[in-house]
Symmetry: C2
Subunit: 219 residues, 2 copies
DNA sequence: CGCACTCTTGAGGGAGCTCAACATTTGTGG
DNA sequence: CCACAAATGTTGAGCTCCCTCAAGAGTGCG
């Protein structure tokens, strides 16, 4: 089964930066592999996931065009797989034996850190409604996204990202639709009907009061 | 109430790197503040937390001697507070108007990314037992820690870190003690009685099989 | 000693998981 | 193009685990 799932990389050249194509379901790198490259998404969608003993997955992020992933010291902490057919730009961490430091790596690390924190923020929400609403908002707020956007990943991917089951994800979608907060167009496209309601569900109605302490601060 | 809680910083000098003392409960920086400094813990313990609209906290990390925190672009994404009296080394992100790039910042970012991923890993566990067991293992595996270690933070801090209530945390502690997996000495000190059992509860009994796909990989 | 705070424990209820069935979509071969 | 199979998604019923509510025990401090 893994033969159809293996890395279908088509390498364009051997320079320090190379274009790589990967088919849906293909593996970019495995958790534990030496982290000799990092990647930028040019088109398509990629997911990173960690596997637990009991077999369940924790998806630690989705990466769309413009996002970077795989920026890590030593070894990859998660497996990266293609959610859809994708084109990536692969860059070497080492360049002629010397690590590539400086602002390129720093800014890539910053973006990786941002996506990790966004994942923590999602998992910090308490109920299925809050998590799904917050997740949809994260997608909706991506540059280029609007009140109508695509969800290229499966319900199972969403469930494993939010720490829920596909059943609960599906039920929560139905609930949001029933309350006319969103509408589905096909299974992949979402239209936000009531943004304020969605933000309220996600617990972000008033960003200014997100930190109660600030209400008392010197200001 | 915040007057007793405010930043009790005693600044040792104005150079690019400065020693800072902070008392238990004091705030190092607030979520949303410009991220002009980053910190290394010399002694004591620090927590970082995000606040949600509904008032609950998500603690995104605990930082002990040798750890770094507050390495972020632009603004701090979390508030940092002292769990115990602490001494920190504070470093400027900017140095004479120029950002400090290069390996110093990269390695600080790598460590910050590592602690974020460790937080995601904890929250990825499904049950209260698994989360607490995994949390105790994270602490037990810190350099210098052994099968007996201190938990400087309160039950409320642990609960907000693991996404549980203090009641569930307390009950889970009692359960682990009843099953003779750990023992408490006072309220702050933990002794691990059955490490294998603790690892099994945390779902880490066999790290080599953590990624099922690897069993099939090219080896 | 008394007060405030933290921690522990119990009882009851609710959100989400499990198990199960069915619907819908996608893919494949005739 | 259709028939069929496989994969994915939806929905319901029952149960479990954790949260809520409540009370009490332990600890530190003035």
């Amino acid at each position: 089964v893994f033969s159809t799932n293996g890395p279908k990389l088509r390498q364009e050249n051997m320079a320090e930066s190379a274009l790589v194509e990967i088919v849906k379901g293909g593996i970019v790198f495995n958790q534990g592999d030496p982290a000799v490259h990092w990647f930028e998404v040019l088109s398509g969608t990629v997911r990173t996931c960690r596997f637990y003993i009991d077999g369940h997955r924790q998806l630690t992020g989705f990466f769309f065009a413009g996002d970077v992933f795989g920026v890590e010291p030593e070894r990859y902490g998660a497996t990266a797989e293609a959610v859809t057919d994708a084109v990536l730009r692969r860059s070497a961490v080492q360049k002629e034996g010397q690590p590539v430091g400086g602002d390129v790596r720093s800014s890539a690390l910053e973006r990786a850190l941002g996506s990790a924190q966004s994942c923590i923020f999602l998992l910090g929400h308490r109920t299925a409604n809050e998590r799904l609403a917050a997740f949809l908002l994260v997608i909706a707020r991506r540059p280029g996204a609007r009140l109508r956007f695509e969800l290229p990943m499966s319900r199972a991917d969403i469930a494993d990202h939010l720490g829920l089951t596909i059943h609960t994800v599906s039920r929560t979608f139905s609930d949001l639709i029933r309350r006319q907060v969103i509408a589905l167009e096909g299974r992949q496209f979402v239209r936000v009907l009531d943004l304020a309601q969605l933000e309220w569900l996600a617990g972000e109605a008033d960003e200014g009061l997100a930190n109660p302490a600030k209400a008392f601060s010197l200001a």
